[in-house]
Amino acid sequence: MEVDQMQRQCLDYTKSLFLEGFLDGQFVQLQQLQDENNPDFVVEVVSLFFEDSERLLNDLTFALDQKSIDFKKVDAHVHQLKGSSSSIGAQRVKNCCIAFRNFCEEQNIDACLSCLQQVKQEYCHVKNKLETLIRLEQQIVAAGGSIPTMEF
C-alpha cells in the first residue's frame, strides 16, 4: 500500500475514534508530545495505560466480590483508573469512572457492579482501538512515512 493511502487511512481511523467519543483532546496532546527526542512516547504511555488499567480492573473485581465491600478502597481504585484514562484521553472510560464513583459514594452495590461491567467493556473497546491505531502507525513508520497528525 502507498504511504499516502496508509496515512489517510490512519487519519480517518483516528478521526472516527474521536467522533465516536473513544478519545478526546488529551490524546491529541499526547501525540503532540511525540518528537525526535521522544519517538515512542505515545506507545509507551499507551502500554503503561493498559498495564495499569488491567491491574486496577482486577483489583476492582476482587474488591467487589467480597462479602463486605470496602467502598473506600473501591473508590480509590476507580479514582486511579479515572486519572489514568483522563491522562491518556480515553473519554468513555473516564466517564464511566465518574459515574462509578458516584455510586461508590452512595454505596450502591448493584449499581457498582453494573458500572464495573461497563468499565470493563469500555476498556476493552478502547484497548482494541488503540492497538489497531498503533499498528497502523507502525506500518507507516516501517514504510518510511511519518505519522499524520490531526489538523483542525
Partner: protein, 740 residues
C-alpha cells in the same frame, strides 16, 4: 348852532324877555365852559383815548362859543366899540374853529363807531379762547387720569386685582356712583355680574347676552350711553324714588393669546366681550362729557390688554404645575418599573436555578439510563426523553439569556483565549453530527488570524455553534465550510451595512467568519424575519422541527454587543445559504496580559519556550498520569525526575529543582508533603516552587493549597501550550493559582 341874534339895537327891549334871554345866555356860557373842563378832566384820566387833538379842537370850539355867549351879555345895552370888537373877534374865531371841528368830525366819527365793532369782536374771541383753554385743561387732566389708571392696572398681573383696581380708580377719577363689570359665563349665553365698586361681594345676577342694549354696546367700540332702567344698569336694589344717574356702558374685549399677531394690532375677531357699566351720581346733575367717555374707552382697552397678560400668566403657571405633577408621576412610574424589573430579574435568577436543576437531573439520568441494557423499545423511549429534555434545556437557557440580553443587563466578559482552539472545539462538537449526515465539514483559518484574542469566549462559541449548527441542521447533503479571517476595511465596502466600517487598531481587530452550506437555502424575502425571535420559517419546519427560533435572535444580540454585524445571504430555495458575521475582538499585548497572577484559561504567552536546564520533580502515584506529565515537561525541554510516593519525593527533592509538581488528587498526602518540603527548606531562599496538579475543582482544594504554603495550583488536563504558559508564569512571578 342857533343863529346868534347879536345885531338888534333898534327894537326896545322888552324887560322880561330880556331878562330871560340874559339868564339863558349866562347858563349856556356856563355849560359851554364846564363841558371842556369835564372833557379835559376825563381825558386826562383815561390813558387810551387817541384823539386828543380833536378834543382840543372841540374844547376850543366850545370855549369860544361860551365866550361868545358871555360877551353877548354885554350887547344887550349900549356897549362900547371895544366890546363890539371883542365880540366880533370871538365870533370869527368860533366860526373858524367850529368849521374846522365839523370837518374833522367827518373823519373821526366812523372811526369811533368801528371801535365798537372791534370791541365786540375781541370779546367773542376772548370767550372762544376761554372755552378752548378749558377743553385743553380737561383733556390734559383726562390724559393724566388715564396714565395713572393704566399704571395702576398694569402694575399687577393678578386678574382680580386688575379689575378691582380699574373699578376703584375709575370710580375715583370720574366720581362715579357705581361701577360694575359683567363677565360672560362659561356657556357664553349670559353675562354674570362679577365685580362692583361699592358692593363687596356682588350676588351673581345673570342677564342673557342677547339683549338689544347689550348688542348695541358690543357692536361699537365706543362708550355708549344707555338707559338707567335696563337690566345691566340695575346694579342695586333701588328703594323708593331713587332716580339713578346717567349710565354709560362700554365693551371690554377679552383677548386670547392667539389674538396677538406680530406687526398687527390685535384683531378683535373674538366675540368674547365683557361689559363695563358706569353710573354717575344721581343727585349731581352731571352729564357724561365727551372727554369722560373717551377716558372710559381708553381704560376699557387697557383693561383688555392687562387681562390677557394675566390670562397668559395664569396659563403658563398652570402648565408649569401640570408639568411638575407629570414629572412626579413619571418619576414614580420609573421607580415602579425599576422595581418591577428587579423583581423580574430576581424571579428569573431563582427560576434559572430552579428550572435548571431538575432539568439537569433529567438529562443526566436519561443519559445514564441510555448506557444501561435496554430493550429496543425502552431505548427509543429513553432517546426521546433525552432529546426532548435537551430541547427543553436549550429553550430554558435561550429564554433566560435572551431576557438578560433584552434589558441590556448582559455584559460580555473580556478574557484572553485561544481563537484557534475555539474553532477546533466547535469543529469537534459539530463533526459527529455532520458525519452522520454525510456532510463534509471544512474549515479555513486565515494565517494572519491571531492565536490569542480578548473577548467573550463562551458567547462567541455559542454564536459560532448556533450558526454552524443551523447550517448542519438545514442541509441534507453536501458541504459546510467555515472560513475565518481578519476583516480589512478596504476590502469591506458592503452595501448591506453601509455605516459600518471596521477599522482595526493596535488593540482591536475585526474577525470575519463566513459559514457556507449547500442546504435547502432560504427565500430572500424571508431573510429579515429570521432574526426576529419566535418567528419560524414554515417551509423549513416541515422537515426539521426547528428549535424555539430564538437562536439567531440571540446570535444577533451577541454580535451586536461585540460591536459587529451578522447577515444571511441566500440565492433561493435549494441553493444553499451563507451566514457571515463580523465581531470586534481585542488583541492582547504583553503589558496587560499578566497583570494578575490569576489566570482564567490559557495564559497566552509566546515567551520562552525553552526551559532547558530547568530541573523539575513530578510526584504522582498514577503511573500513566506520571508518564504523561513527564513527557509533557520533557517536550518543553525540562530535566524531569519522577516520584511515585511522598516519601520518594521528599527524598528526591533538592535545591536544584526549580519546581515540584505534585498530584493532590489522593487525599491529604500532597498537602502534608508540601508542609514537609517547606520544613526541609526553611532556611533557604531558593527553595523549589511547589505546584499542585489536580483534576479536582472544589474550592476547598485551592484554599487548602494556599494554606499549606503551595505556590500554585493547576487544573488537569494540561496541554502543551498550557504547561508552557504555566512554567513561564511560575518562573516570572513565582506564584500561579488557576481559578477553579
Amino acid at each position: 348852532m342857533e343863529s346868534c341874534n347879536c345885531i338888534d339895537p333898534q327894537v326896545p327891549a322888552d324887560d322880561l324877555l330880556m331878562k330871560y334871554q340874559y339868564i339863558s345866555d349866562f347858563f349856556i356860557a356856563l355849560a359851554y365852559f364846564s363841558i371842556p373842563l369835564e372833557l379835559i378832566y376825563f381825558v386826562k384820566k383815561s390813558a387810551v383815548f387817541p384823539y386828543r387833538w380833536v378834543l382840543v379842537q372841540f374844547g376850543a370850539f366850545i370855549v369860544l362859543c361860551g365866550a361868545t355867549h358871555l360877551i353877548n351879555l354885554w350887547t344887550f345895552r349900549i356897549h362900547s366899540r371895544t366890546v363890539a370888537v371883542v365880540m366880533t373877534t370871538a365870533k370869527v374865531l368860533t366860526a373858524v374853529v367850529s368849521c374846522a371841528t365839523a370837518l374833522m368830525l367827518v373823519h373821526i366819527i366812523p372811526d369811533l363807531l368801528s371801535v365798537k365793532t372791534r370791541e365786540l369782536f375781541l370779546k367773542n374771541k376772548a370767550a372762544e379762547l376761554d372755552r378752548e383753554v378749558g377743553l385743553i385743561r380737561t383733556q390734559e387732566e383726562t390724559g393724566r387720569h388715564v396714565r395713572m389708571l393704566t399704571h395702576e392696572i398694569r402694575s399687577t398681573l393678578d386678574r382680580h386685582t386688575i379689575l378691582k383696581t380699574t373699578l376703584v380708580e375709575l370710580g375715583r377719577t370720574l366720581a362715579l356712583e357705581e361701577c360694575a363689570l359683567w363677565m360672560p359665563t362659561r356657556t357664553g349665553l349670559e353675562l354674570q355680574l362679577s365685580y362692583t365698586l361699592r358692593q363687596q361681594n356682588p350676588v351673581g345676577y345673570n342677564v342673557p347676552i342677547n339683549l338689544p342694549v347689550i348688542n348695541e354696546v358690543f357692536s361699537s367700540n365706543r362708550a355708549v350711553k344707555i338707559s338707567p332702567n335696563c337690566p345691566v344698569a340695575r346694579l342695586r336694589p333701588y328703594a323708593g324714588k331713587f332716580m339713578p344717574g346717567p349710565v354709560v356702558a362700554v365693551r371690554v374685549p377679552l383677548l386670547h393669546l392667539s389674538n396677538f399677531q406680530i406687526y398687527d394690532w390685535p384683531e378683535v375677531s373674538t366675540r368674547n366681550y365683557a361689559l363695563m357699566v358706569l353710573v354717575l351720581p344721581s343727585d349731581s346733575a352731571r352729564q357724561w362729557h365727551v372727554h369722560e367717555l373717551e377716558l372710559v374707552e381708553v381704560v376699557a382697552d387697557q383693561v383688555a390688554v392687562a387681562l390677557s397678560h394675566a390670562a397668559i400668566l395664569e396659563e403658563s403657571t398652570r402648565a408649569r404645575d401640570q408639568l411638575m405633577e407629570q414629572n412626579v408621576a413619571l418619576d414614580l412610574a420609573r421607580r415602579e418599573a425599576e422595581t418591577a424589573i428587579r423583581a423580574r430579574n430576581d424571579f428569573l435568577a431563582v427560576m434559572n436555578h430552579e428550572m435548571r436543576t431538575p432539568m439537569h437531573a433529567v438529562i443526566a439520568l436519561s443519559s445514564l439510563l441510555q448506557e444501561t441494557d435496554l430493550t429496543a423499545e425502552q431505548r427509543l423511549m429513553v432517546e426521546t426523553i433525552l432529546k426532548s429534555s435537551n430541547l427543553l434545556a436549550t429553550l430554558i437557557n435561550d429564554v433566560l439569556d435572551l431576557s438578560r440580553l433584552e434589558d441590556g443587563s448582559l455584559q460580555l466578559e473580556a478574557a484572553t483565549f485561544n481563537l484557534h482552539s475555539l474553532f477546533r472545539e466547535v469543529l469537534n462538537l459539530i463533526k459527529p453530527v455532520a458525519s452522520v449526515k454525510k456532510l463534509s465539514l471544512t474549515s479555513h483559518l486565515a494565517s494572519d488570524l491571531p492565536m490569542y484574542v480578548i473577548g467573550d469566549e463562551k458567547r462567541l462559541m455559542q454564536t459560532i455553534l448556533n450558526v454552524v449548527g443551523n447550517a448542519v441542521k438545514f442541509s441534507k447533503e453536501g458541504f459546510i465550510s467555515i472560513t475565518a479571517f481578519v476583516a480589512k476595511p478596504e476590502s469591506f465596502r458592503d452595501a448591506r451595512i453601509p455605516d459600518f466600517l471596521p477599522v482595526p487598531s493596535d488593540s482591536h481587530f475585526y474577525l470575519r467568519v463566513q459559514v457556507k452550506d449547500s442546504g435547502s437555502g432560504i427565500n430572500p424575502q424571508d431573510i429579515p424575519k429570521l432574526f426576529t425571535k419566535f418567528a419560524q420559517n414554515q417551509s423549513l419546519t416541515t422537515r426539521y422541527p426547528a428549535g424555539s427560533g430564538l437562536g439567531l435572535a440571540i446570535c444577533r444580540r451577541f454580535v451586536n454587543l461585540m460591536e459587529g454585524h451578522i447577515w444571511i445571504e441566500s440565492e433561493g430555495i435549494g441553493k444553499g445559504c451563507t451566514v457571515t458575521f463580523i465581531v470586534k475582538l481585542g488583541i492582547p499585548d504583553r503589558s496587560n496580559d499578566f497583570k494578575l497572577p490569576f489566570v482564567t484559561k490559557v495564559p497566552g504567552n509566546h515567551g520562552s519556550t525553552n526551559f532547558t536546564g530547568l530541573k523539575v520533580l513530578v510526584m504522582d502515584d498514577n503511573g500513566v498520569s506520571r508518564s504523561v506529565t513527564k513527557g509533557l515537561l520533557m517536550h518543553l525541554g525540562c530535566d524531569v525526575t519522577t516520584a511515585s510516593s511522598s516519601d520518594e519525593c521528599l527524598r528526591a527533592v533538592s535545591l536544584e529543582h526549580g519546581v515540584v509538581f505534585m498530584d493532590v488528587c489522593t487525599g491529604l498526602d500532597g498537602y502534608e508533603l508540601a508542609v514537609r518540603i517547606h520544613e526541609k527548606f526553611t532556611k533557604h531562599q531558593d527553595r523549589p516552587l511547589i505546584v499542585a496538579l489536580t483534576g479536582n475543582t472544589k474550592k476547598m482544594t485551592k484554599e487548602n493549597c494556599m494554606r499549606v504554603g503551595m505556590d500554585g495550583l493547576i487544573l488537569k488536563p494540561v496541554s502543551v501550550d498550557k504547561m508552557r504558559g504555566v512554567l513561564s508564569e511560575l518562573l516570572e512571578r513565582r506564584v500561579l493559582f488557576e481559578n477553579v
